[in-house]
Each structure stands twice: as structure tokens, then as C-alpha cells.
Symmetry: C2
Subunit: 278 residues, 2 copies
């Protein structure tokens, strides 16, 4: 039986993603853990086989803790990805008037995705940030008719709340990209693939341009670039880059060999099938 | 009298930064507002002359809401910057045993800066995220001896809590870069300067490399690059770049003219004196 970890508790978008990933996989048991770091460290310690982790959202951007742990704390590979539509719902105690609630409980990512809704439709409500959307629904349920929560519909079901509005995020098209991480690849190269790396360059002018020119030289398309402060220094960055193609492709292999030569920190984060938007 | 806005309430790092900026400026009145977006919009509507805004932290990275509002919602210029050391302190009810607290109230940025401390020294404590560190101290004070808060020492003073540990962030060198924004520049070009821009390129291979090559061509040093999802599309990004030099420098002017030619969205965010680390 494969053990697959996710950020719990039950009733989070991460649980939905993990269930989606395990659909039709008979030999999988889902394991809920209280923090993303704990989920990743558990895979590193072989206590889990795989983990399904939120990586970036189309409105709020990357999940910093995931980037930092993958870069510095574990040696894990991205083995798969899923892109799921995210509908943020407003939920209240059954029968309560949502326009009169004075407090809203939700996770910072969901609050960030619903900023305009909160400022426009609930200016009187105070926003309390919670460690998960399930916890937010729990808090709202305990607070009674003057409170609401924002999160996945599943959280309403779990905590006996009523969904009063759906798709309240600031853009209709709201997607989160989840990645599946493990100790070794699980797919052979077939179809369209993506490769993820993280690196830092010398702190000299043109050093990042040099790396991007390498991908140009080998005609490799870059699909993502993201910077993070490098080990806590303002003005020094590490870069997360995704490119089209699998490491088994000679061009990808040669380009990445050159990238290694031109960087002072380099880590391969995996080649895996590119997700279609579900 | 100049009105200078900041993210309140009193007892936040933003208030400290605003006070630091106004030190020795006789004609300034500080105005506290409840959200960063509200602070920026108030400057846009001429209700404030300037605002002091957290921009990036050396441990947690950029403040997303600032990037998004500057890119899409307002036409403001960065006119100055400050880099301040940030000491996260743990505060509890006077006389309480900090190792036994069961809950910690703090802002997500501070929680992110103290992740390892929380997991290592307070594994039993539940972390409640608040809209500001001042609000966190307020909640901890109301919750009594089983609760603590993380934030600036000023918050402990304001809410009658006792500081039990200082510098509990995950790295000793913890800095936040604050920017001062307004409608027009307030400094003449003198000394070392920085220029900030935001842009997006065509979604074609090599388009970002082309922009970075422009800076190379004009021998301009890039001090920051940061990506954000572009108006809510996964895989499309806008880029925030800081370069050395002032727009009045002919090389900077010519390079940025070329950058405008090669981008499909471009916004100048200001030329301003480069901060020394205080």
C-alpha cells in the first residue's frame, strides 16, 4: 500500500488534490499531516512514499515554504503535477445572513485570492487568518451566526456550514498547480514533459542572463521562473525554473550540463509529465 | 503638514519604519490605515502625500499585495527606500512560562520568518495568524497566560506583555526593505541610485533573456528580479526588476527605452536613492 501525504486536516484543497491524484489508484492510503514542511520531511524520512503539495496559484503565486524546503532541506524529486480549478466559497451558519457577518475565518492563500471580494462585499467583516481552510470553517462554526469562512465547499460539508456564494475569488479562472514529490521518478518519458531545477549564480552582472541564454541556445522553452531570497540575504536570489522537455532528451541534458557549469548552486528537481488543466 | 501613511495599527514593524523615515522631518503626520492596499489607494487619491510600505523581507521574500497593487491598481512612484533590521520577539503575559504556552498569535510574515523556532521550541503551540503583529499581541494579551505573540518589541509595550526572547527568526540577519511611495519624485539624482520597473514580455521563448541582455549591453547591474503571475494566468508572469542607476543617466534611459520596445506591458516605478543597511 502506497502512503501519500497531504496538508490536512480534512476539508482542504490539498485533500481534494490528493484524492484527485489517487483516483483509480487502488493501492493508496492518504495521510494528513499538519504542515507542508512536515509532509515533505516525512517523504524524505521514507515514512511516506509520495506527497501531493500545493506549488503555485494563478492569483497568489508560489507557496514559499514549498520552494524553501525543496531547495534547502530535502532531496526529493517532483514526479508528477496536477492543475486544478479552485473555487473559493463563502460559507456561514445555516440561515445566517452573509452580508451581516462581522468576522471571516480563512487561510492566507484564500484570503489573498479573495481580496477584492472581501474589501467590496464584506468591508465591515474582520478577517481572521487560520492555518488551513478546514480550521477556518471550524472556527466559523464555533463562532456562530456572525461569522463566515472562505474555502472549499468540502469544508462546509464537514463542519455543517451552508455555502452561500461560490467562485468569490478575484478572477474567475483560478487554478492551483499541485506537485507530487517522491524519492524517485515514477514515469518513463512519454508525451510532453517538464523539467524543474533550482540554482543560484555568482553575484555578478549578467549571470542570470547567461543562464537564460543557454536555454535559448538549445531552443528550450522556459515555462516558469521564480526568485526567492537566497538563505536570507536581501539582493541575493535563488531561481526556480521550469523548462519544456525531459532530462532524457539530449538537448535538455546538454543544456542543463551547461547550466551546472555556470551556477554556484544547482539542484535538479525532476522531469515529469506536463499536466493538462483539468 | 505632510501626511504619511502606513499599515497599522500601532505596534507594527511598518509603524517603526514610518517613524524611522519621519525622524527629523518636522512637517510630517503619521496616518495608520488597516490594509496595505488602502494605504496605496489613499496616496493615489491624494488623501496622503506619501506612504511607507514593506516591500521585501530577506527571509520571506516579497509582499505580494504590494507588487500587485503597484503593477495594476495605482500609478505611484517609489521615491525612497529604507532597509531595517527586523528582530522578532516572543512575548507573553508577565510571569507566564513561555515554554508552556499552547497558542501563538502572529502575522503570517512573522510566522514565516520564525518557522524553525516554532517547530523546534514550541511544537505543542498552535499558531493563530493575525492581520498584524499588533493584533497578535492584543489577542495574546486577551487570551492570558497560555498564549504568546511574536512581533516587534513595541507591540509588547503597547499591550502590556513581557518580552521573553529576542531575535527568534530563523536567521540572525533579518532585514525588511520598506519603500516610500508617492505621486512624484522627491529627490534629485545624487549619490547611488536605483531604478525599479515592472513589465511583461510576449509569451515566446527567449523573450525574458532578451530583456536581461539589454541590461548587459548597457553594462547595467540588475539588483533584483521577481516574478508574479500575470493577471491570474498560470505560466504567464510579470517581472519586477531593480537596476543600479537613475533614469537621468543616459545609459539607464537608453536601456529602458529599449526595454519598452521589447515588452508588451511596461511601467516605470521610480528612480530613488539606494539605501544603506541601517
Amino acid at each position: 500500500m502506497h502512503k501519500i501525504g497531504y496538508l490536512g486536516p480534512e476539508g482542504t484543497f490539498s485533500q481534494q488534490a490528493a484524492q484527485h491524484y489517487c483516483f483509480n489508484k487502488q493501492e493508496a492510503a492518504l495521510v494528513s499531516l499538519p504542515s507542508i514542511r512536515e509532509v515533505l520531511l516525512s517523504v524524505q524520512r521514507n515514512e511516506l512514499d509520495l506527497a501531493v503539495i500545493p506549488f503555485e496559484n494563478s492569483l497568489e503565486g508560489s507557496v514559499n515554504i514549498v520552494l524553501d524546503v525543496l531547495a534547502w532541506e530535502v532531496d526529493l524529486l517532483i514526479v508528477d503535477e496536477l492543475i486544478l480549478p479552485i473555487s473559493q466559497t463563502l460559507m456561514v451558519t445555516p440561515g445566517a445572513d452573509w452580508e451581516r457577518i462581522s468576522s471571516v475565518y480563512t487561510h492566507p492563500q484564500s484570503a489573498g485570492q479573495c481580496r477584492l471580494f472581501l474589501e467590496t462585499h464584506l468591508p465591515q467583516a474582520k478577517v481572521y487568518l487560520t492555518s488551513s481552510n478546514a480550521e477556518g470553517a471550524n472556527q466559523a462554526q464555533m463562532s456562530g451566526r456572525t461569522a463566515g469562512a472562505i474555502g472549499p465547499e468540502a469544508a462546509a460539508d464537514k463542519f455543517g456550514l451552508q455555502v452561500v456564494l461560490r467562485n468569490i475569488q478575484d478572477k474567475n479562472n483560478n487554478f492551483t498547480r499541485f506537485v507530487v514529490v517522491g524519492k524517485k521518478s515514477i514515469h518513463l518519458p512519454a508525451g510532453r514533459n517538464k523539467t524543474s531545477i533550482v540554482f543560484s549564480t555568482e553575484h555578478t552582472p549578467g549571470s542570470l542572463a547567461c543562464i537564460l541564454d543557454i536555454f535559448n541556445l538549445w531552443d528550450i522553452n522556459m515555462t516558469k521562473i521564480e526568485s526567492r531570497p537566497s538563505r536570507g540575504q536581501l539582493g541575493r536570489y535563488i531561481f526556480f525554473i521550469d523548462i519544456d522537455g525531459h532530462l532524457s532528451n539530449p538537448d535538455v541534458r546538454d543544456a542543463l550540463t551547461m547550466v551546472q557549469r555556470k551556477t554556484n548552486f544547482y539542484k535538479f528537481l525532476g522531469s515529469y509529465p506536463m499536466a493538462e488543466i483539468d
